[in-house]
Amino acid sequence: MPKTLKPHHPGVTLRPEGRQPSVVRNDPVRMNSQADATVQSAPAPQRLAVDVRNVSLTFQTADGAVDALSNVSLQVAEGEFVSFIGPSGCGKTTMLRLIADLQQPTSGTLLVNGVSAGQARLERRYGYVFQAPALFPWRTIEKNLKLPLEIMGFSDSEQKQRAARYLALVNLTGFERKFPWQLSGGMQQRVSIARALSFDPALLLMDEPFGALDEIVRDHLNEQLLQLWDKTGKTVLFVTHSIPEAVFLSSKIVVMSPRPGRIIDVIDCNFPRDRTLEIRETPEFLKIAQRVRVGLRAGHSYDE
C-alpha cells in the first residue's frame, strides 16, 4: 500500500467556487433555518441533492410479494455525507439502486438534483462505486479510468489529463500501465473510486465499497475518503454495515430495518470535517455509535 493521500495535491482543485457544503437535518421544514444558520458567505437557497418521498418497492417472487422498501422518505442536501446502515435485506442497497435508476420504485417520487432519477442518470449526475471494484480486466488502470470519459465523449487530451489527476487523487500515480490483477484489492477499489469521480459528478453513490477489505486497509481508505469529501464538496451516499465506519464518515446516519425495508432512525453526526481516526475513542463518538446500535437492535426482527 502506498502512503496516505496527500492532503492537498497541487493539481487537484475540485471544490466548485462559491458552494458551501453544509449539514442539514432530515426535516425539510427545519432544513432552511439550519441552512441559514450555517451558510455564511453565499446565501444561495439550499438545494436538495436527493429527494425521496413515500417511495415503495415491491418485488414479485415465487413466494409472493416482498416489500424491499416501504414508504420511505429522505431528503439529502448538497454536500452531505449520508450513511445507510442496517441488517441485510433492509433495502439499503435497493435505496441506492433506486436513486441511481438501476431499479425503479413501485410507487412514490424520487428526485435527484431536482430531476427524476432516470433523467439524472441520462445527464450523468452521479458516480457509482460498487461492492467490488468491477474494473475491466482487459484495460490498464489508466484506460479503466478513461472508460466513462470515452463513453461521455471527452476529448483525448481531457481524458489523459483527468486520468492523471484522479489517479493522483487516490495516490496511484505510476500505476497507469498496470492491469487490474497486478493491484491489491484496496488499490483496485481506489481505482474504482477515482473512476467514479473522473467525470466530476456532484453526487457519489457508494455501495459497501470497503466491505471486502481488511480492517487496516478499510481504516486507511475511510480517512482518504473523508479527506476527499472535504476537498471536493461532493454529496456522498454510503451504504455500510459497519457502525464505526458509518459514525466516523457521516454527517447523517440513516438506520434501516428489514421486512419491510424502512427507515427507523436518522441520526445527525457533526464531527469536525478534519477529523481523524482518533475520534473513535471519544465519548461523543461512542454515544452516537450506541444510538445507532440501539436503532439496529430495535429493527432486528430475528432477535425476538
Binding site: A100, R121, L122, R124, Y128, F130, A134, F136, W138, W181
Partner: protein, 294 residues
C-alpha cells in the same frame, strides 16, 4: 544428472509417447498385413521365412495398413518430389484445400458472430433462431454436400466457393454457441456500471461485450478451424473434385493406394495443427495486449 536436464524434462514425455505410438503402429501393420503377405507367398508357392514374412508386411505395395516409414517416404516424395503446382504434388492439393478452408472459416466466423449478436440482442430471435441452428448441425454433411454443390452449380457457382460454403456451414456452429456465451459473459456489475454512465447499446457492445467475449472467441475459433478443414475435405469427396486433399483421398481409395491415402491424411493433420497453432499464436498476442496473466 541427465534426468534433471530441462530439455529432457520437457521433451522426454512427448518423445516417449510418440515412440510408443510408432511401435504400436508397426505391430499393427505386421498383424494386419500378415495374411495378405502370406497369401502372396503361398500363391507364388515360394518358400518363406518368418523374417521375410515380417519384412513383407512392411513393404507391401498396397497394404491394409502401411508402415510409418512407407507413409513418410510417399509423403516426402509427393511433397518434395514434384513442383508445388504439379497435380501429383501434395503441396498443390493442400493449398487447394487450405484456400477453401480459410475462406470457409472466414465466412463461418462472420456468420457465427453475426448470429450470436442477433441472439444476444433479441429474445425473439433467440427463440426462433436457436432451434434451427441446432437442427442444421444434425443433418449429416455428407448427405447435404452434393445437394449444395448441385444447387450452387445451377446458379453458376463453382470451384472454391461451394466448398467454402459447406465448410462455413459446419464451422459457424461452435462460434455461434461460444460467442453467445461470450457476449453474455460480462458481470452484472459491469453492465450496471455502463448503465450508470448511460452508455449506448453500441458502446456496451464495443467496450464491454466484445472484449469479454474474446476468450470465448478464440476457444471457439480453435474448434471451428479444424471443423472447417474437415468441411473443405468432405466437400471435395462427393463432388468428384479434381484437386484437394479430399480428391487425393478419393483417388487413393479408387485405386487401392492406401499409402497415398495415409500420406494425404498426414498432410491434413499437419495442416490442421498448423492452423490451430496460428489461432493459438493470435490468441496469445491478443491476450498479452489485453492484460492476460502470463
Amino acid at each position: 544428472m541427465l534426468r534433471q536436464h530441462p530439455l529432457v524434462e520437457r521433451y522426454a514425455p512427448i518423445v516417449t509417447i510418440v515412440l510408443a505410438l510408432i511401435a504400436i503402429w508397426y505391430i499393427a501393420a505386421v498383424l494386419m498385413n500378415l495374411s495378405l503377405v502370406r497369401g502372396g507367398f503361398e500363391r507364388e508357392e515360394a518358400p518363406y521365412t518368418t523374417s521375410e514374412l515380417i519384412a513383407g508386411t512392411m513393404s507391401a505395395e498396397r497394404p491394409l495398413l502401411p508402415a510409418p516409414h512407407q507413409v513418410i517416404a510417399v509423403f516426402v516424395d509427393s511433397v518434395f518430389g514434384y513442383a508445388p503446382t504439379a497435380p501429383r504434388s501434395l503441396v498443390y492439393h493442400s493449398m487447394v484445400t487450405l484456400s477453401a478452408t480459410l475462406l470457409g472459416f472466414l465466412l463461418g466466423a462472420l456468420l457465427g458472430i453475426g448470429l450470436a449478436l442477433m441472439i444476444v440482442h433479441s429474445r425473439v430471435l433467440e427463440k426462433s433462431l436457436l432451434p434451427w441452428i441446432i437442427c442444421s448441425q444434425m443433418v449429416p454433411i455428407l448427405a447435404l454436400a452434393p445437394i449444395f454443390i448441385v444447387v450452387l452449380g445451377a446458379i453458376g457457382l463453382q470451384g472454391l466457393l461451394p466448398k467454402s460454403i459447406i465448410s462455413a456451414y459446419l464451422c459457424f456452429f461452435p462460434i455461434t454457441i461460444g460467442m453467445v456465451k461470450g457476449f453474455t459473459a460480462p458481470d452484472p456489475m459491469q453492465l450496471d456500471l455502463m448503465r450508470t454512465w448511460s452508455a449506448s447499446p453500441r458502446q456496451v457492445l464495443s467496450k464491454l461485450r466484445w472484449p469479454s467475449a474474446v476468450p470465448y472467441l478464440f476457444a471457439s475459433l480453435k474448434v471451428a478451424i479444424t471443423i472447417s478443414l474437415i468441411g473443405a475435405i468432405v466437400a471435395e469427396l462427393p463432388t468428384g473434385a479434381e484437386a484437394g486433399i479430399g480428391a487425393r483421398l478419393l483417388a487413393g481409395s479408387y485405386y487401392g493406394q492406401t499409402i497415398q491415402i495415409w500420406a494425404a491424411l498426414l498432410a491434413s493433420a499437419i495442416l490442421a495443427s498448423g492452423l490451430i497453432g496460428l489461432v493459438g499464436l493470435t490468441e496469445r498476442m491478443v491476450g498479452s495486449r489485453m492484460g492476460a496473466r502470463p
